[in-house]
């Protein structure tokens, strides 16, 4: 276990608590809460980076093991969220996203060792895993944003003007963030799919039947959903609730791939 892990976890917990407090309290002093939560999250991000760096120096790079991939995914997700906060300061998204990353990081550190995928340290393997993780991290931000959209939209439609309504960010801004995340994450995920396909074919001596695995099917489903979403956004102006639902479905499929690797190990990459 890396030495900064307890500190990282504590900082994530502080940030998470502050974001949740911000989302559940009245307006008074809440902006300050959100600001402090963001600072704590940035500190956790740095501490987490120190963990990953330490493990790299020890010879355990982020793609050597499913556990490390999970931790790296959590780190990238937080990085992606922090990057969005400069343009889209949406604390409610942080309140949902930080607990998810805590679960990912804890699962990575406390879960059983699964061993690394064969030849993960090759250029192709590194590219595939790195790009796929970055893509999923950005989709994670898009998915949480989509979940917030659905809640905010539901309240506006049902005319429920409770405390969460007041905290709900504007629908247009949420949809805009969703579109930008998908636009950024989709090319990364696409290149990851291509490199992954080539990698698997080379490792296992070719043959299309080698790709008939649950993880490849899930990845393809995620790719198709995000591709369809992008096309529909451009072609017919799909936005709002339906875009949010497709985003959640796509992220669910992408997360399924990670879950399969985590539960079954890297056998049959």
């Amino acid at each position: 276990m890396p030495p900064a892990f307890p500190l990282t976890l504590a900082l994530y917990a502080v940030s998470c608590t502050l974001y949740l407090a911000h989302s559940s309290t009245g307006e008074r002093a809440t902006q300050r809460l959100a600001d402090v939560a963001r600072i704590a999250l940035a500190a956790a991000f740095v501490s987490h980076a120190v963990d990953i760096g330490y493990l790299c120096v020890q010879g355990t790079h982020p793609f050597v093991d499913v556990r490390e991939v999970l931790s790296f995914l959590a780190w990238l997700t937080i990085g992606a969220y922090l990057a969005t906060t400069f343009r889209y300061p949406l604390p409610l998204v942080g309140a949902l996203l930080v607990p998810v990353t805590i679960v990912l990081d804890v699962a990575a550190r406390l879960g059983p060792a699964r061993g690394g995928p064969a030849h993960a340290s090759t250029l192709l393997g590194t590219m595939h895993i790195g790009l796929a993780t970055a893509g999923v991290a950005i989709f994670a931000v898009a998915a949480v944003d989509a979940a917030v959209y659905l809640v905010a939209e539901g309240q506006l439609k049902r005319r429920r003007f409770g405390p969460l309504f007041k905290k709900g960010p504007p629908l247009e801004k949420l949809d805009q963030l969703n579109r930008r995340c998908i636009l950024l994450g989709f090319p990364l995920f696409t290149v990851a799919m291509i490199t992954g396909t080539i990698w698997v074919m080379r490792l296992q001596g070719g043959g299309a039947h080698r790709l008939l695995t649950p993880q490849y099917a899930m990845s393809t489903l995620a790719w198709v959903l995000f591709a369809g979403l992008l096309v529909a956004r451009v072609a017919v102006g799909l936005r709002g609730r339906r875009a949010a639902l497709v985003t959640l479905a796509g992220f669910g499929a992408a997360l399924g791939v990670v879950a399969i690797y985590y539960l079954r190990g890297p056998a049959g990459v």
Partner: protein
């Protein structure tokens, strides 16, 4: 002593307020006119209130004198007869006047409690009076504390953070959908007064351009002219729905004029862009099923009213917290003011003791013919030290207690100190121990719309006094 006389939405109808309101260009001259009647003056003139703050050196009958000065000013500058304006005037003095100013600056006395403009208006009034040279230390001190109190109320309560009218609720809902309203097109259907008001709110929130349509094109043109929009013929309504982001409906039509099919067609042309309907017409102008269309949000007058009611209840709770803050700030200010009121007594007491010591030293030195210069300085220092030691405890008590519990009066009586000169504080001087604190029969009113309780000073509200 501080005196405020004026009229507001609590006491005067809009036609009287309109006539009493000063133009911005008149304020400095009006302040100078008042300067002959008071040490300091400031005129606060907004669409909902006209108030004149004065400090008068002589507290005797201050309320009545302040009131007469204001009636004279309104008669001379605004040509408003005292008979017309008199019944609507209220007057507060001393502590009540301080509390009133703090509440006004904090928007607790506003027609829409928590509205943000009033603090800026009080600051503008302060600037006008400063330029006219009619504000000095006393009024300056109380105004600075009023600004600080208003800032506390704004930062420590939510009193200013929720919609309290149907029009402002419409703006808030639109913001929840679109965020920044800049550049969002607003379509006004119908030329009613409510649509006019809501459109103005949206424009002041940054929305625009404005499109107006009405069955009678001339009325659409008239409204468009008033609110800076563009009139369109009634037949173009379906096309207008494809470009507008926010639609305000306030026609008098007996049947809905916006149907689900019309909106569905518009949404295809809009490529799913969000559309917000604010329907404030009764009977409703928009079919209820329109709200089921994807990315369309429909709010009728009931939805808006329930939002306003929720917010008003919330504001009432926050206003209670704000009132406690005001009470604290008033007390803090009064304590500071009272400590200023003690200064003349302290000076007089020290001077009295020192003069006795000097006289006794001179008499003693007269008897010591062979005393050297050094001996003389030693004896003078001894006398000064005795005075300082004797006065240390009483002066500390005076500074600490201020004017509370009649300590200053008791000290003045005990040491036969004459009435100190006017200290320039906003409070009336304390009466000798055993006497009441009332100022006279005119100042026994029970309070005004400000809701202030009276202790020091008093309140006069002419309309109620009658």
């Amino acid at each position: 002593m501080l005196v405020v006389t004026g009229l507001s939405h609590h006491t005067a109808p809009v036609d009287v307020r309109e006539r009493a309101a000063f133009q911005e260009g008149e304020l400095e001259e009006a302040n100078r006119r008042l300067a002959g009647h008071a040490s300091e003056t400031m005129i606060l003139s907004t669409c909902n209130r006209v108030e004149i703050y004065l400090t008068l050196p002589d507290p005797a009958g201050a309320a009545e004198r302040g009131r007469r000065a204001v009636e004279k000013l309104l008669a001379e500058v605004r040509l408003l007869d005292a008979v017309v304006v008199g019944p609507h005037l209220y007057t507060h003095t001393g502590e009540d006047a301080v509390r009133h100013l703090f509440r006004v600056a904090s928007s607790l006395d506003s027609m829409v409690v928590g509205e943000p403009q009033i603090l800026g208006q009080v600051k503008d009034a302060f600037q006008h009076a400063t330029r006219a040279g009619t504000i000095r230390n006393t009024l300056g001190r109380v105004l600075q504390r009023a600004f600080a109190a208003a800032k506390r109320v704004r930062t420590e309560t939510e009193v200013a953070r929720s919609s309290s009218s149907v029009a402002s609720a419409a703006v808030e809902l639109a913001r929840h959908i679109f965020g920044d309203l800049t550049g969002k097109e607003v379509l006004v259907i119908g030329a009613g007064k409510m649509g006019d008001l809501a459109a103005r709110h949206l424009v002041s929130a940054g929305a625009g351009p404005l499109l107006v349509t009405n069955r009678t094109f001339e009325r659409a043109q008239s409204l468009a002219g008033r609110i800076g929009g563009k009139a369109h013929p009634w037949e173009s309504l379906p096309q207008l729905l494809t470009v507008a982001d926010i639609v305000l409906c306030s026609t008098g039509a007996p049947e809905p004029v916006v149907k689900r099919e019309m909106v569905q067609r518009a949404m295809k042309a809009r490529r799913g862009r969000w559309l917000c309907f604010i329907d404030i017409a009764v009977p409703r102008d928009v079919e209820a099923q329109v709200g089921d269309v994807e990315n369309v949000y429909l709010y009728d007058v009931d939805a808006l009213s329930s939002m306003v009611d929720d917010h008003l209840a919330e504001r009432r709770r926050e206003a209670e917290i704000a009132e406690r803050i005001i009470a604290e700030e008033v007390q803090r200010f009064l304590v500071a003011e009272r400590s200023l009121g003690v200064v003349p007594t302290i000076r007089a007491l020290r001077e009295q003791f020192s003069s006795v010591a000097r006289a006794e030293v001179a008499r003693t030195l007269g008897k010591l013919e062979g005393a050297s210069q050094h001996d003389r300085r030693v004896i003078e220092a001894l006398a000064e030290a005795i005075v300082n030691k004797l006065l240390h405890a009483p002066l500390t008590a005076l500074k600490r207690e201020g004017e509370s519990d009649g300590l200053v009066s008791a000290t003045r009586t005990l040491f036969a100190i004459e009435e100190p000169p006017a200290s320039g504080t906003i409070l009336p001087p304390l009466p000798p121990p055993g006497e009441g604190r009332g100022e006279g029969p005119l100042e026994t009113g029970s309070g005004s719309g400000s809701g202030s309780g009276s202790s020091l000073g008093g309140t006069l509200e002419a309309g109620r006094a009658k």
